[in-house]
Symmetry: C2
Subunit: 123 residues, 2 copies
């Protein structure tokens, strides 16, 4: 399997794949999913297959300016600060959130088209 960039999946991180708008493969119902593609896609799906991380994505998207710092998310989520940081890290590594540290605060925002690219594969 070869992506639009001509690289095999194992050579590209989930971050790069999602950020480039190419999660990994053709829509599910169109052709049998290769074993390697399945691992790549599953890794991204595991990132959002958690109630806390789903709410984090939603909270960040709904926050003013489309970005939020950790302190904005702790209380609405009802989890400890280290746990929130952990979940945010997972989402960043999956290529669904960006992290921008400005001074003491770390601002997280949705990767444009990240979720859309993921949704496009589920067909």
């Amino acid at each position: 399997m070869v992506t639009a960039l001509g690289l095999v999946p194992t050579e590209r991180s989930a971050v790069e794949a999602a950020a480039s708008g190419v999660v990994c493969c053709a829509p599910l119902s169109r052709e049998p999913l290769g074993a390697e593609d399945a691992v790549v896609l599953a890794r991204i799906l595991k990132a959002i297959a958690d109630p806390a991380r789903l709410r984090l994505l939603s909270l960040v998207a709904a926050h003013e300016g489309g970005e939020a710092c950790v302190c904005d998310l702790i209380e609405p989520l009802g989890l400890s600060q280290p746990t929130v940081s952990h979940h945010l890290k997972v989402l960043v590594e999956a290529g669904l959130l960006t992290r921008d540290k400005r001074g003491v605060w770390a601002y997280y925002a949705l990767v444009p088209g990240g979720l859309d690219a993921l949704a496009a594969v589920l067909r």
Copy 2:
């Protein structure tokens, strides 16, 4: 939160929710996801967040007639028969596959619109 059927999520199985075309909630980026909705959505996403189950969905969809029995899936997947049965059960309980036992064989098929409903929430 109230679904299109006027029932709270805990009163409806994931199967019913997906089969009715209503996974659970509004698109992620539109409004903050409620805690209960997040649990429901995460449960369905966990079902597909696994390489073996992603390939199963793809294999079933690509199979002639849009359905396949367990014996058709064991070899291409490279897993034991009990393991394949286990994964298929998870997908059925998530409302993404149907199971139709005819004689000795059990035929699995995609729930129409199941994946599309799921994809629609990821926005």
